[in-house]
Symmetry: C2
Subunit: 330 residues, 2 copies
Amino acid sequence: MATLKELAKSLNVSISTVSKALNDAEDIGEETKRRVKELAETLDYKPNKFALGLKTKHSKSIGVILPDIQNPYFAEVLYGIEKAALEAGFDTLICVSNESYQQEVKSVRMLTENLVDGIIISIAKETLNLKDFQHLTNLKAKKIHLVQFDRVSPDLACDSVQIDDQESVKNATNQLIKSGKNKIALVSGLGSLNVAKNRIQGYKAALKENGISKNIKLLEVDGVDKTHVQFKNFIKQNTFDAVISIDNKSGIIFQNIMQHYFPERFKKVKIISFIHEKDALLTSPPLNFINQRGAEIGILSFNLLKQRITEKEKNKTIRKEKIIASINFQ
Amino acid sequence: MATLKELAKSLNVSISTVSKALNDAEDIGEETKRRVKELAETLDYKPNKFALGLKTKHSKSIGVILPDIQNPYFAEVLYGIEKAALEAGFDTLICVSNESYQQEVKSVRMLTENLVDGIIISIAKETLNLKDFQHLTNLKAKKIHLVQFDRVSPDLACDSVQIDDQESVKNATNQLIKSGKNKIALVSGLGSLNVAKNRIQGYKAALKENGISKNIKLLEVDGVDKTHVQFKNFIKQNTFDAVISIDNKSGIIFQNIMQHYFPERFKKVKIISFIHEKDALLTSPPLNFINQRGAEIGILSFNLLKQRITEKEKNKTIRKEKIIASINFQ
DNA sequence: CTGAAAGCGCTAACAA
DNA sequence: TTGTTAGCGCTTTCAG
C-alpha cells in the first residue's frame, strides 16, 4: 500500500503538501494538487485507516446491531443501511445480539472500541424486558450517535425510524372488513414486544370503528417454533373468515395448518401477514402481505445518523420517523 | 478511555514498562506486573485498536463474505463463526456480496484496508460463473489468509469446509428408497452452482446403485421466486412418490403447491429438503430435512483460519474438510 | 529489572 | 504556496 511518504518522495514535495493536496486544502496550488492526485490515483493510494483513526478519533464507519439476522426483515433493513453507507463512504460493522442483553452490551463495547461514528440499533427483546439501556445512554458521552429502528424504546432520547404499526394494522384490518370480512382473528408470535402491542391496538381500533369489537379473537405465542398444536386447536375452537398475522412466520404456518387439517374451511378464509414479498410466495396460494419496507427503513436510518454525524451545530430536536406499511392483496 | 500513558503516570513508571507488564514480558518484575494489571483492570484499560493496528499491521479481526444473508443457512454459519471468533478474541467484519462479483471485489478491498488477519468466504454465484478469482488470489501476497466454505472453488489453493454434498444426497435418496419409494424426483432452485451438480450426482448415484436410473426426474430452476407455474406443471406431468429439494426454499413451495392443487396425490408423497430445522416447521405436516450443520461449518472454518493466522511455520498442506449432513425424517 | 526513544501513517498548527 | 514539526497510542530495540 502506498503511503503519503512514498507519494511525497516520488513528487519531491513534503508529506504535508501531499496530505493537504489530497484533502483539497485551500492553500495548495492547483498544479500541485493535480500532480498529487494523479499519482495517488495511479498508485491506488488509500489512506491508512489506523493512522487516520488514531489521529482523528473517528473512523468513518458505523455500527449496526440487529436482534436476529435470520429474520428476513432485519436482513432487508441491513441491506438498505449498507447500501446507503457504502454510497456515503462509510464502512459498516454488523453485530447480532441474538435477542440477548449480554450480547448487545458486548456489541456496543466492541463498536465503541472500533470508534464507530454512530450506531443503528434494533433493541434485543431481553434488553427491552430488562429496561436497562445504560450501555446505550452511555454512548452520548462518547459522542457516538444513536438511531433506533423498529424495536424503539421511548426511554431513549435519540432519533428513530419505524413502521407506524398501529396505523398499518388498522389499515389492513379495515381493508379486510371492506372486502366483507367481519370475523377477523389476529395471530402473533411476537410475545410481549411493544411492536406487538401497537399492532394489536390497530386491529382492535379497526374492529371498534366498525362496531364489531365483540369479534376480537387473539392467538398470542412467543416464538412459533413448537406451536403447531396451539395453532390447530385455535382453528378448531374458533370461527373466523380472515386472519391477520403480525410476525414473519405465523401467517405461513397458519395457512399451511389450516389447508392441511381444515381444507374446506380454508377456502373461505383470507389471510394477511407481516412478511417479506418473497416469503409470500412460499405458500400456495401466495399470502397477502403487509410490506414493512425494510430497505427504506434502513436507508432512512442511515440518513438520520449521517446528519447527526456531519452536522456541526448540535440540533436538539429528536426526529421520530414513522412510515406507513403498504398492503398487498395478491 | 485509559491509555498507557495515564497508567504510567498513576504508577510512576514508564510507558514501556506498562506496555511490557501488560504483555507479560519476561523482563518485568512480578510485583510490577501485578500492580500494573490491577490498575489496568480497575480503569478498564483497553488497548487502542488504531494505535495497535498502525504499529503491528494487523488487527486481530477477520472478515466474512457471504453471498446472501437472507439465506438462513448462511446466517447460521455466520452465527458459528462469530461465536468462535468472539471466544478467541477476534472481531468479525461481515460483508454481503448479494451474489455480485463487483460487490465481492469491493468487500475484499474493504476488508484488506481494515487489515483483517484472514477472510472466510462463500463465493458469489456471479464470481463462480466468471471464474475470476484474482481479488482472492491476491490476498496471499498481502498475507491475508483465506478459507472457503460451501461454495468452494477448486481453482483456489486454500483451506475449505463444506458439506459432502454428493454423499449427503446419496444417503438421503437411499433412505427414501429403503422406505419403499422408487419414483423419486429432484427439485433444485440453485441454477448452475457446483453445489447443485454435486447434489444431483449423489441423487443419480443412488438411483443407479438401486437399478432405477430410468426414474430420474429433474426440475431445475435458477431462483424460486416466480416459478409456481413451473412447479405446478411439473407435478401435473410427472408421477413420483418422493421428492428431494436441494435448496432452502423449493421444498416448502413444492409441498404447498402440491397440497393445494393435488391434495390426494400429496398424501402418498414423501418430501425431503435442504432446509433449516426451524423452517421445516413452516409447513404442515413438517418437512423432512437434510441438516447442513451451518453452525459447525462456521466454527470449523474459523478454527482453520485461526490455525493459519497463529502458526509460525508455513504449513503448505491444504485442508479440505468435508462434513456429512445429517438426515431427519419427522 | 526499567526507561528512553524511534517510528508506524496521518493531520494540523505554525514557520518560512 | 510549501515545509517543519509535534503528536495521536502503541511496541520494541537498545541503553542504563
